[in-house]
């Protein structure tokens, strides 16, 4: 360093104190460090680096605010010190503010270009922020400074890989491997590195090089992962084209694990057969291969199952008969789910139905399933039956699932009732009974059935979760919490809090949806926002792997992780939560009184108040214990990560009354358009928010994207009308190129010569037999300010037999009628209550409350589950 600025230079006594201070920090002797810093500051209160170190130490000790202030002050006092910027960067990184942290690190590097620690941290930040050009530079510098470290070579290779430059990756790896001497045997890290090298060559299309590298390293035992060797080998050979060797490589894998469908796919591909697109010309050959393998591997299910995909006609009938019988006799609960994918082919499900109904009759008559020639004994059936009673039981269970999947729920219910009379102790029967009732529109009775299943086996967490989920679907939120509480941590403030910590997306979504159905929108929003928080945590979690994976050289997996993180926000749970929350925000924006209603509906029941009190107490206790632990613990280091502050808004009141609901909605939706292009619900949600935010270009583009997916979509139709109405009502039309694009796109969606009324009625004419379309057209009338009577008349058309009204749509229609305060809402509700036999969702609130009370069985109080 050329010259030290005068205000940084310390006299020799303080200078050595400062060195001590650094050592104390490195070894986390925080109290001593603090004392030393104070000693320096007594004489030199303006010494920036010391102030920063003290701030850093205080932050570690849990005094974040005070520490942060000192650090900022220190930075201001000594802007050209790498130490102050490094410290500031550390603090920002702890706050997960990666952008700002990287800026500070960059400053630090200006004043200390070759500091390894800072460079390494900067590389991690650049990876987290996906700044790959900068990353390559940083990794280059690190390698230049320390070429003898393996992870510096790997780091550079990965940086090139992420930046899309595989040729450079190959060069780096080759150079590194030339420096290697005496690799010990069974070095897993070297093994992973070589597998990565092979993958790079494979991705570059240098297949024979990849193969020979694999073979050499497999033979010399450098690569130790046998399965990876076999799989990679088979994959590369397949890319080279079908040969005898390719075929053998897949056969070897099948021998190794006969229940992996991909291996069979590979084998068939090596014979020029695409298992997913079997044609009449290769069907016989494919089937023969699978039949031969079934004989060779008598215990494997996969070749038998794949043969069902391939075969048709009589051959299918013969094969599926054996397959089903085997499953029913073994009592495989998932048999129906396993074969359900065959149902997209009508002759196949018809064959299955005929066969299994036949099995049922044979058994009811006491006949034998294996030998149809044995006559059915018409004397007392059960004692002379040739089959185990469990086979009959699983046959009934299969048939119930079959008929329910064919929308024949009444038949399914009869079958499952017969099965339950036969054997009332099989939980699967009760959970499926619950499912049938749910499909029939009776969530309350459904939850009773599933809860009965849970009581049969209190140890089964699957049943516990299902029972709680069904309670939530039935609107019994407190019951659900009690049930979940049987499996959550006993010292958590509430079952929900523990499940939140466990990042249970299922729980968060189901409870959010339950609140939404009850109109308690604030609590619903709260849960949806927690879902977002979980995904933010997923995003942060990758940070540690930028260093860890390089050290452990688990590179293939690491690259998969990065790719997964890049698509993180397209996860179905996040998409669903973002759409649901945005719909609530839009509703609140359109009608602010909604939030008032929700808040007043949120007056808690007695049970809830009690639960809340209990939760509060438990939370307090935990806080106290934490405090106690903190004061007694010898470890004064709290780390740099921000501990989550106390939740000031546990019920979401602040979320619902946010002055800018649309901005909040947009924040949730914003990651989606780039990642989830094939989901029309996303585009519609984006439109709904964009048009209200005055982002007309974004809105109309969302509509175009939606149109590309499904031009006749019922919700989309309504948005066309909405957009034209909104856009033409603007006081001054958009000008310039944006205005032109918007108008042009609009007229490509909804031709300008067509009046909105005409367009709406044409749409209805195109889809007279689709309840959703009828509902959409009726809402169109409402949007176009037609009288309410006209809207109602059209809407009641959904009740016509030919409109095939589904329960879900009927509920939406009812909600719409209630929303426009239609005088005929009640009439519609009663009509649906009659139309959907066995449903409970169309009962009036008083009737429903009664049903729910009956649905909370008293016997639970007696039950002891420990």
């Amino acid at each position: 360093m050329a010259s030290t600025p005068s205000k940084r230079a310390l006299p020799s006594k303080e200078s050595s104190l400062f060195k001590e201070l650094l050592t104390f920090y490195e070894t986390r002797q925080l109290k001593k460090g603090q004392k030393t810093a104070d000693q320096i500051l007594k004489k030199f209160p303006e010494h920036g680096e010391t102030l920063c170190m003290k701030g850093l130490i205080l932050t570690h000790m849990g005094k974040r605010d005070e520490g942060r202030e000192l650090v900022k002050k220190g930075v201001r006092l000594d802007l050209t010190s790498h130490i102050v910027w490094h410290v500031f960067g550390l603090i920002q990184k702890g706050e997960k503010n990666y952008e700002e942290a990287l800026k500070s690190y960059t400053q630090a590097l200006r004043f200390d270009k070759e500091n390894m620690n800072i460079l390494r941290d900067a590389a991690h930040l650049q990876t987290q922020l996906r700044l790959y050009d900068g990353l390559v530079e940083t990794r280059h510098l690190l390698l230049k400074l320390r070429p003898n470290l393996r992870q510096n070579w790997i780091g550079l290779a990965i940086a090139y890989h992420l930046n899309g430059n595989l040729t450079e990756v190959k060069r780096v790896l080759e150079q590194y491997e030339r420096t290697l001497k005496n690799v010990p045997d069974y070095d897993v890290e070297q093994s992973e590195l070589m597998l990565y090298h092979v993958r790079v060559l494979e991705d570059l299309g240098e297949l024979s090089e990849a193969l020979s590298l694999l073979d050499v390293n497999a033979k010399s035992r450098v690569i130790v992962d046998r399965v990876a060797i076999m799989e990679t080998r088979a994959r590369i050979l397949s890319k080279q084209g079908p040969t005898e060797e390719t075929e053998q490589s897949w056969r070897a894998l099948i021998q190794h694990n006969p229940d992996c469908p991909d291996y069979y796919k590979g084998l068939l591909a090596s014979k020029g057969i695409d298992l997913d697109n079997i044609t009449d010309s290769n069907r016989a050959e494919a089937l023969q291969i699978l039949r031969d393998l079934s004989t060779q591997l008598p215990r494997a299910d996969t070749p038998r199952r794949l043969a069902l995909d391939v075969s048709i006609g009589d051959e299918f009938q013969e094969l599926v008969r054996d397959y089903l019988l085997r499953g029913l006799k073994k009592g495989i609960p998932s048999l129906f789910v396993d074969v359900k994918t065959l149902y997209k082919d009508t002759p196949k499900w018809m064959t299955i139905e005929e066969l299994v109904e036949g099995f049922r009759e044979t058994q009811e008559n006491g006949g034998s399933l294996d030998d149809p020639s044995i006559p059915s004994a018409h004397s007392s059936p059960p004692s002379t039956s040739h089959e185990a009673p469990t086979t009959y039981l699983w046959t009934l269970y299969f048939l119930a699932q079959h008929h329910s999947s064919r929308d024949n729920h009444f038949r399914a219910l009869t079958l499952i009732t017969t099965a339950l009379t036969h054997t009332p102790t099989l939980p699967e029967l009760l959970t499926f009974k619950g499912r049938i009732l749910k499909r029939l529109g009776d969530p309350v009775e459904a939850s009773v059935a599933v809860n009965e299943a849970r009581l049969l086996d209190g140890q089964d967490r699957f049943l516990n979760t299902k029972a709680a989920k069904y309670k939530l679907r039935a609107g019994l939120i407190e019951d659900a919490s009690d049930i979940l509480g049987l499996f959550t941590k006993k010292d958590a403030p509430s079952p929900g809090a523990d499940l939140e910590d466990m990042q249970s997306l299922l729980y968060l979504m189901e409870e959010g949806n339950a609140y939404r159905r009850k109109g308690r929108l604030h609590q619903a929003l709260k849960k949806y926002h927690v879902v977002r928080k979980v995904f933010e945590e997923f995003e942060d979690d990758q940070y540690d792997f930028h260093g860890y994976s390089l050290r452990k050289s688990t590179l293939n997996i690491y690259l998969n992780l990065i790719a997964w993180e890049d698509n993180l926000w397209s996860h179905p749970a996040y998409v669903a939560s973002a759409i649901a929350a945005s719909q609530i925000y839009v509703k609140v924006h359109d009608d602010p009184s909604v939030s008032k209603d929700a808040l007043s509906s949120g007056t808690s029941t007695e049970a809830e108040k009690k639960a809340k009190k209990k939760a509060k107490k438990a939370a307090q206790k935990i806080q106290e214990e934490l405090k106690k632990a903190a004061s007694t613990s010898t470890n004064e280091d709290k780390g740099l990560e921000v501990t989550p502050p106390k939740d000031e808004d546990p019920d979401g009141f602040k979320l619902l009354t946010d002055p800018e609901p649309l901005e909040r909605a947009w924040k949730l939706l914003s990651p989606l358009p780039a990642l989830v292009r094939n989901n029309i619900d996303v585009w519609i949600a984006v439109y709904d928010v964009a048009v209200r935010r005055g982002k007309y270009l974004q809105a109309v583009r969302a509509l175009s994207n939606a149109k590309a997916l499904d031009p006749e979509h019922a919700e989309l139709h309504l948005r066309y009308l909405h957009f034209r109405k909104t856009y033409s009502a603007l006081p001054s039309p958009l000008s310039g190129p944006v205005g032109a694009i918007v108008s042009n796109t609009l007229s490509s969606l909804l031709p300008s010569e067509l009046s909105s009324d005409l367009y709406n009625s044409q749409y209805l004419q195109r889809h007279p037999a689709d309840a959703r379309a009828v509902f959409s057209a009726a809402r169109g009338l409402h949007l176009l300010d037609h009288p309410k009577e006209e809207v109602e008349d059209m809407i009641f058309g959904v009740l016509n037999r030919e409109a095939h009204l589904q329960l879900k749509v009927a509920l939406e229609v009812l909600a719409f009628l209630q929303g426009i305060r239609s005088a005929r809402a009640e009439e519609f509700r009663l009509a649906c209550d009659q139309k959907f036999l066995l449903s409970s969702v169309f009962k009036n609130p008083a009737e429903l409350a009664l049903l729910q009370r009956e649905g909370s069985p008293k016997e639970e109080q007696q039950e002891v589950i420990g």
Partner: protein, 168 residues
């Protein structure tokens, strides 16, 4: 699930009772017997000392029956009282009952500290089939209690017993 054996068409196995599978026992009792049992019974059959004598019975991994006993000590003599035993109707005549009884008898023989003198039970006088079943398995009628059942008819019950350790 412990001891397993093969029946004609399936596998019989047994599991000890726990608070978690008690729901299955309740369900079975509710369809097998005309009596609603007291909560006292359900806490008794969970006691550790009767673990070998109280079992859920599975057929091909499906719970189809129960067998439950109580240990009684009178004047220094310990005996085993068979509280309930039952198998769901579709699963009868498959040897499940005999297998369950044998399990309990073997456990009774093996039981020391204290040794068990005899095992006994009540059978409602209308239930000839049950009586024959126990007689086939080595039980003998020793008594007729005319007014055993208070809420169901007929009220009479045979007492059947099988000696385990005569000297005990």
């Amino acid at each position: 699930m412990s001891p397993t054996s093969k029946s004609r068409t399936g596998r019989i196995s047994f599991a000890s009772l726990t608070p978690n599978n008690l729901g299955t026992v309740r369900k079975l009792n509710s369809v097998l017997f005309p009596i609603k049992y007291s909560e006292k019974l359900y806490s008794e059959i969970l006691l550790p000392e009767v673990e070998d004598f109280c079992k859920l019975v599975y057929f091909n991994d499906v719970p189809v029956g129960t067998i439950c006993c109580r240990l009684e000590t009178k004047e220094g003599v310990t005996q085993l009282y068979l509280l309930t035993m039952g198998v769901l109707a579709p699963y009868r005549s498959l040897g499940i009952g005999s297998e369950s009884l044998r399990l309990v008898l073997d456990a009774a023989v093996a039981h020391t500290k204290p040794a068990i003198s005899r095992i006994y039970l009540h059978v409602q006088v209308s239930n000839d089939g049950a009586k024959r079943f126990y007689e086939r398995n080595g039980f003998k009628e020793v008594e007729l209690d005319e007014a055993y059942y208070k809420k169901i008819k007929p009220s009479g019950a045979w007492v059947l017993e099988k000696i385990v350790h005569p000297s005990a």
